[in-house]
């Protein structure tokens, strides 16, 4: 036992992450195969599509097919595909005429900025609301939170986004034109991180920062509203459960101050389940990105993939799905790492 402690939390966490990485490999491989199959069974022969662009005949189609390696046996195609992905070679987008990797990397910061802004907003609201509701069950705050939780999961993001646009852009004119990350006439900051809010702050362009912030408020709120409900509900439920548990009674029986009981004993324990679902919440948000980016013409990876999908240009779709898978693995690793730090009971097994 003392040996295990001597190992230290860092080493334990490192082991956890290592094991998780290993166990994520089959999942990643599954996604790869899935995208490969997706690529094969998608309706419409890509060669036909590609060649038709040049109004070519049968011979031309055959040539394109050979170029793309579509005439080889499937296992070989899969191996080539894996090799390509391993090198970050995701193919060309027919609609933009650029490598998919370039397109994705260019648009990824927009999506991530939106998602992180929304997550911060949602957590900033959900945690205090959930805790307050749990501390005073049956109070007006509790009723309000429960009402919000019930309603929040019922409104689809594409409806709440449009309604926000109607109220804050059309009626009140508080928000700018809900298209894109920045007004078309505004100067873009130098691309340091790709996150506009960060870049503007780095070059101390506060006017630009405000403009970017004004653009992101509505889409981020839309997405935050969507995940607010599950987060607040979870916070409330886990806080209630912890407050009713025996060790809280112990702490009270020893005369610990109310604040200490709530903050040190109850809250820390209650946040553990919230942490574990925040990985799933983040995933949900990645999915919701598709809808929100479409509503707000947000130039992110999801709207890029969607446009490609509707144009039967599937290399971007496949690249997008792979990217999502990679982000998803990374986020789950992070959650796991935090969980291992937060809960000493978490074992490697």
């Amino acid at each position: 036992m003392s040996e295990a402690r001597a190992q230290g939390p860092l080493r334990r966490a490192a082991r956890r992450v290592g094991i998780r990485l290993l166990s994520a490999l089959p999942a990643l491989f599954g996604v790869l195969v899935f995208t490969f199959i997706l690529m094969r069974v998608l309706p419409g022969d890509p060669a036909v599509f590609f060649a038709a662009g040049a109004a070519g005949g049968q011979a031309e189609i055959e040539m394109v097919r050979q170029q793309m390696g579509l005439d080889r046996p499937l296992p070989e195609q899969l191996l080539r595909y894996l090799w390509d992905v391993a090198r970050g070679e995701l193919g060309m987008s027919m609609t933009t005429g650029q490598p998919v990797r370039t397109d994705l990397l260019e648009r990824l910061p927009a999506s991530l900025e939106l998602t992180f802004a929304a997550l911060l907003l949602a957590l900033g609201l959900a945690l205090p609301l959930g805790v307050l509701a749990a501390l005073r069950p049956g109070s007006p705050v509790d009723h309000l939170v429960r009402f919000l939780c019930t309603l929040g999961v019922c409104v689809p993001t594409f409806v709440s986004g449009l309604l926000l646009v109607y109220v804050f852009y059309y009626l009140l004119a508080w928000a700018p034109d809900p298209t894109g990350r920045l007004d078309v006439f505004a100067a873009t900051p130098p691309g340091i991180t790709g996150f506009l809010l960060v870049d503007f702050a780095l070059v101390r362009d506060w006017e630009g920062w405000r403009a970017a912030a004004a653009q992101i408020v509505l889409p981020a709120s839309t997405m935050a509203l969507f995940v607010l409900a599950p987060l607040a509900r979870m916070t409330r439920a886990s806080m209630l459960a912890v407050l009713g548990s025996e060790f809280i009674r112990t702490a009270r029986s020893l005369g610990l101050s109310g604040r200490r009981v709530v903050l040190v004993y109850a809250l820390r324990n209650a946040l553990i389940p919230v942490l574990t679902i925040s990985g799933i919440v983040f995933s949900t948000m990645l999915g919701a990105n598709v809808l929100v980016e479409k509503v707000f013409s947000w130039p992110g990876v999801a709207s890029y993939a969607l446009d490609a999908l509707l144009a039967s240009d599937y290399a971007p779709v496949q690249g997008f799905v792979l990217l999502m898978a990679a982000i998803f693995v990374a986020v789950n690793l992070l959650v796991d790492l935090l969980y291992g730090v937060a809960d000493p009971r978490a074992s490697v097994a």
Binding site: E246, F247, T250, A251, L254, G255, L256, R260, R345
Partner: protein, 548 residues
């Protein structure tokens, strides 16, 4: 007793529930002098724990003190405010709880938790609190205390967690310690060490203790005075020895009678003579034991739960399996009733190796109806969607292929009647039955197919003593009349001694000692069996001295 430390006067506690208000404590009065030890005993629902929580204002939201006064050191604390309570709790009155592992914060090091308790009432610095915590861990005799300071509760055993809890409770030298079932769920040997430690610390520091327990022996052994509670009232109170020697209230008398002691018989528990035994089953010529177990082993992963166990069981015989947690007794019983496969060894039933039939296919074996089992917790041993009738009828339908009809009804009713279950209860669902009634349904189901071997897995562990007494009597009578063989698994040595002709003591998956119950209990040969026997608390002091 001029100025009592604690006075509870005419306390009433009510709970608001879905089904209306429940009057849990109805006019309880208790007094405790400084340095005194008081045991509060009672069965579930007697209001003993509620009384304790009312004193420290730890009732859950639904409960409230409706009437009465609580005085501590002359001060009225019945309506104490938040601030006053904070001063009181931990510093003047502290508590030790049941289920020590759950009572500690799972994600905080025990040293920090003890430090929290200290710093709640003193201005100690973090470092000073840590040093003091170390002294406290040493005071509760935790080995390697310095290393344990940084342990989390899940890294400690249940007994150690309870010591940590005790360390926290005495940290600020309170004058009164309320211990609520402090050893329930702990093994009997651990119980003894924890209770010895607790009472030693109390005496050493001149503290008063209120011990809430369902175990008369525990109260008798560790308390000078005892109060007996029933249905929210104190029915009798007095010095321990006198109270147990000559209980005055009928309930106390029943309770004392129903508690198994080193010398009681099943008949003593309920005060009825045993049912006349049926003529013993005609010994079938040329046949050996009903059950023979040879070299049985079972491992779970790297852990060897049952290690090379062999024994025999004659037709109609009753064999007890005793042991503490981790002894492998439950695993062994599951293997014998073919719900679990053995890793190695043979199980011969009537000379046939039923161990060769995989547990997953045993439901089709002809021996299935001959080997039945009674489970531990009556609450989860009945399908919540089956009525009592359906529960008892199930093995008859499956194992005897009986269809719906008067024949089935007659068999079910016969089994119910044999188990003393009123027939009008047969239409009820489990949640509409009491614990004792559920236990009867479970037994009726097990005997419905008239098995030759009944495996009883702690059949009374979850029951109150008065219910346990009746159920034990029922089981004893059934065996006498039907000539079934029993494999009786229990952690309670007294129960096994009364119920079984022979006893096997298990420890860490191995047989520690085996022999006729009377001889084994009178003069155990192995040190472990002696330790087990010595750890049982008794409430008959004169007898204890006689045997000591």
């Amino acid at each position: 007793m001029s100025e009592p430390l604690l006075s509870v006067e005419n306390l009433h506690v009510r709970f608001a529930t879905r089904g209306g208000e429940v009057h849990a404590v109805r006019g309880v009065s208790l007094h405790l002098a400084a340095g005194e030890t008081l045991g509060v005993v009672g069965e579930s629902g007697s209001g003993k724990s509620v009384t304790a929580y009312a004193i420290t204002h730890l009732l859950d939201r639904a409960g409230r003190i409706a009437e009465g006064r609580i005085l501590f050191a002359g001060r009225d604390i019945t309506r104490a405010g938040r601030h006053e309570l904070r001063e009181l709790r931990g510093a003047a009155i502290s508590m030790v709880f049941q289920n020590p592992r759950a009572a500690l914060n799972p994600i905080r090091r025990v040293g920090e938790q003890i430090g929290d308790a200290l710093r709640a009432h003193t201005g100690l610095t973090r470092r000073a609190a840590r040093e003091r915590a170390l002294e406290l861990l040493e005071a509760v005799r935790i080995r390697d205390a310095a290393a344990r300071l940084d342990a989390y509760p899940h890294e400690l055993s249940g007994g150690m967690c309870q010591r940590v809890m005790i360390a926290m409770a005495i940290a600020c030298a309170p004058r009164l310690l309320i211990a609520d079932e402090p050893t329930t769920g702990l093994d009997v040997t651990t119980q003894k060490t924890v209770m010895d430690l607790l009472s030693g610390l109390i005496a050493e520091r001149g503290m008063a203790m209120m011990l809430i327990t369902h175990d008369l022996g525990l109260a008798a052994q560790y308390c000078r005075r005892v109060a007996v509670m029933e249905q929210g009232r104190v029915v009798e109170e007095g010095p321990t020895a006198a109270l147990f020697r000559a209980p005055r209230h009928p309930y106390t008398r029943r309770l004392v009678a129903a508690s198994p002691t080193r010398h009681s018989t099943v008949a003593d528990l309920v005060g009825e003579a045993p049912a006349p035994a049926a003529p013993p089953p005609a010994p079938r010529r040329g046949q050996g034991p009903l059950l023979e177990v040879q070299g049985l082993r079972r491992s779970f992963g790297r852990v060897l739960a049952v290690d090379d166990v062999s024994f025999r069981l004659a037709p109609g015989e009753s064999l007890g399996l005793v042991g503490e947690s981790g002894s492998g007794k439950t695993t062994l019983s599951r293997m014998i009733c073919r719900l679990l496969d053995a890793s190695a060894g043979r199980i011969l039933f009537d000379g046939e190796d039923i161990g060769a039939i995989p547990a997953s296919r045993f439901h089709r074996a002809p021996q299935r109806r001959d080997i039945q089992i009674v489970f531990q917790d009556p609450n989860d041993s009945l399908n919540p969607r089956f009525t009592a009738f359906q529960a008892i009828a199930h093995p008859l339908r499956r194992l005897e292929g009986m269809g719906e009809g008067p024949a089935l009804r007659a068999r079910v009713e016969a089994a119910a009647r044999r188990c003393g279950l009123p027939l009008d209860l047969l239409a009820r669902f489990p949640h509409q039955l009491s614990g004792g009634q559920k236990a009867r349904v479970g037994i009726a189901r097990a005997i419905a197919t008239r098995p030759r071997l009944l495996v009883l897995d702690e059949p009374t562990a979850a029951l109150d003593v008065s219910v346990q007494a009746v159920v034990l009597k029922l089981l004893d009578d059934l065996r006498r009349q039907d000539g079934m063989a029993y494999l009786f698994v229990s952690h309670d040595l007294n129960v096994v001694r009364m119920m079984c002709e022979r006893t096997i003591v298990l420890r860490l998956g191995r047989i520690e000692e085996e022999g006729p119950s009377d001889a084994l209990f009178a003069a155990p040969r192995s040190a472990y069996a002696r330790e087990l026997l010595d750890a049982i608390p008794h409430f008959a002091p004169e007898r204890r001295e006689a045997t000591a």
